[in-house]
């Protein structure tokens, strides 16, 4: 599963870890994140992420 980097703040979304603070379980692919999911560090939208 691919990791994605936030273009704004540099946060890396790792599907292995998910984003549990915001209800995203470990093992969730980036593509499967809800469309309104935002970067937990800076609030950037999904389209601000680039595949690592």
């Amino acid at each position: 599963m691919d990791r994605y980097v936030c273009n704004i703040c540099g946060y890396v979304y790792d599907p292995k870890d998910g984003d549990p603070d915001n209800g995203v379980k470990p093992g969730t692919k980036f593509e499967d994140l809800p469309e309104d999911w935002v970067c937990p560090v800076c609030g950037a939208a999904k389209d601000e992420f680039t595949k690592e």
Partner: protein, 400 residues
């Protein structure tokens, strides 16, 4: 200096640092700066942000002109960076506030900066409101404009938007409003601040401005945390300027920035500028020995092209050029055309390294990088004039 009234019961209580030249360690502030804090004298007396730690007494003195510091009920922390929160521990100790409002990321940042034991922190999110008597505080998170904790506060009754660092400028002045200072100087300092601080967050800036516009907020006063405040027609001026900065539309302007050992690379810079000028561009030639990288970024913001020169020294580029490129990369300028040039004596790696660095920033490179052995001969300089022309034509095509 005394506090300044903005509207009835709303006051500027910030500090002016006339001799600030080192701004946060990464840029310079030739005109000094201010740390703006605001006080609203309502049923709940509310202080918005504080100042740099060493100005805590100055802030307390200004507050004391209006209310007893102990009468402050609420503190709003719009931004946790030290120039606005440094005095916070001292102020909290003196004031013993009933509540301290900050964003969710603000709470995390406050805990990472200070011992907040016993601080009455209340986290607020976008859309949350708090009544302070005759007025309402309406909060708007502005994450990454320009830190994760950044937040703005809107006061609908007075049509005031307090924007933390957004719309700031480093200007130390006795005047408090934009309509009281020199216009061109104001604009230059808005450009300089944006280019050196806000630029990498341009996509976020565009989204937040669109959000504010879609909310249809009536704004009569735009109050940033640095420099002068905007009122009346200047509110739209500030917002439209930010939209233009964030769009990064190239203009017919080029920055030729270089360092030099024995003036060979400098000769090339002059020749490239000649070519750029012949295509109708405005040119800034900047020698990194006499300008700071933040001076360069001020010029880069509105430029269509950035042409960078370095001689090869010990198999690499000169340190000031490496500094400039590292700094510029982090600020993520967009829509630029690049170019690389320089002299060399034997191995000659610098020009390639400069070209790679500019390409990695997403710059188009219409002209081949150019280098010359030791000292470029007069006839050889024609190649550099031609390079300037090629780059100039590309900028004209792009800028329209």
């Amino acid at each position: 200096m005394k506090p300044a009234q903005i509207v009835k019961d709303v006051h500027w209580v910030g500090s002016v640092e006339w001799d600030c030249r080192n701004f946060h360690g990464y840029s310079t502030s030739p005109l000094g700066t201010t740390y703006n804090a605001y006080l609203i004298n309502d049923e709940k007396v509310t202080l918005f942000d504080t100042v740099k730690a060493e100005f805590a007494n100055d802030l307390l003195c200004k507050i004391a002109h209006l209310v007893k510091p102990g009468d402050i009920d609420y503190i709003v922390v719009n931004h946790v960076e030290m120039d606005h929160s440094g005095a916070l521990p001292e102020i909290v100790a003196q004031v013993k506030p009933e509540k301290i409002f900050c964003s969710p990321m603000g709470e995390r940042a406050l805990k990472s900066h200070f011992d907040v034991t016993g601080w009455p922190i209340q986290v607020v999110k976008t859309g949350d409101t708090v009544s302070i008597g005759a007025r309402t505080l309406s909060f708007l998170e502005t994450r990454m404009l320009h830190w994760p904790d950044s937040m703005a506060t809107y006061i609908p009754e007075d049509k005031i938007l307090i924007t933390n660092d957004a719309f700031g400028q480093n200007i130390a002045s006795s005047e408090r409003f934009a309509d009281e200072v020199d216009r061109s100087e104001l604009y230059r300092q808005m450009v300089r601040y944006y280019a050196n601080i806000v630029l990498p967050f341009s996509p976020i800036t565009q989204k937040i401005i669109a959000q504010i516009e879609s909310m249809g907020l009536a704004i009569d006063y735009l109050l940033p945390d640095h420099g002068v405040m905007f009122r009346g027609a200047d509110v739209a001026y500030a917002i439209e300027s930010y939209k233009a900065f964030a769009a990064q539309k190239p203009t017919k302007k080029a920055v030729v920035v270089y360092d030099t050992m024995w003036r060979s690379t400098e000769k090339m810079a002059e020749a490239i500028a000649t070519g750029l000028l012949s295509e109708g561009l405005s040119v800034k030639i900047m020698n990194l020995h006499v300008v700071d990288h933040s001076d360069v970024m001020e010029e880069v913001l509105e430029a269509g092209a950035v042409v960078v020169g370095s001689p090869t020294h010990n198999n690499g580029m000169l340190p000031r050029v490496a500094d400039m490129l590292t700094y510029m990369k982090g600020l993520k300028p967009q829509n630029k055309i690049g170019g690389a040039f320089g002299s060399y004596g034997w191995s000659g790696e610098a020009v390639k390294a400069v070209a790679e660095a500019l390409s990695a920033m997403g710059m188009e490179m219409p002209a081949e990088p150019l280098r010359s052995l030791y000292v470029p001969k007069h006839e050889e300089l024609a190649k550099y004039v031609e390079m300037g022309r090629t780059i100039g034509q590309a900028v004209v095509a792009k800028a329209g």
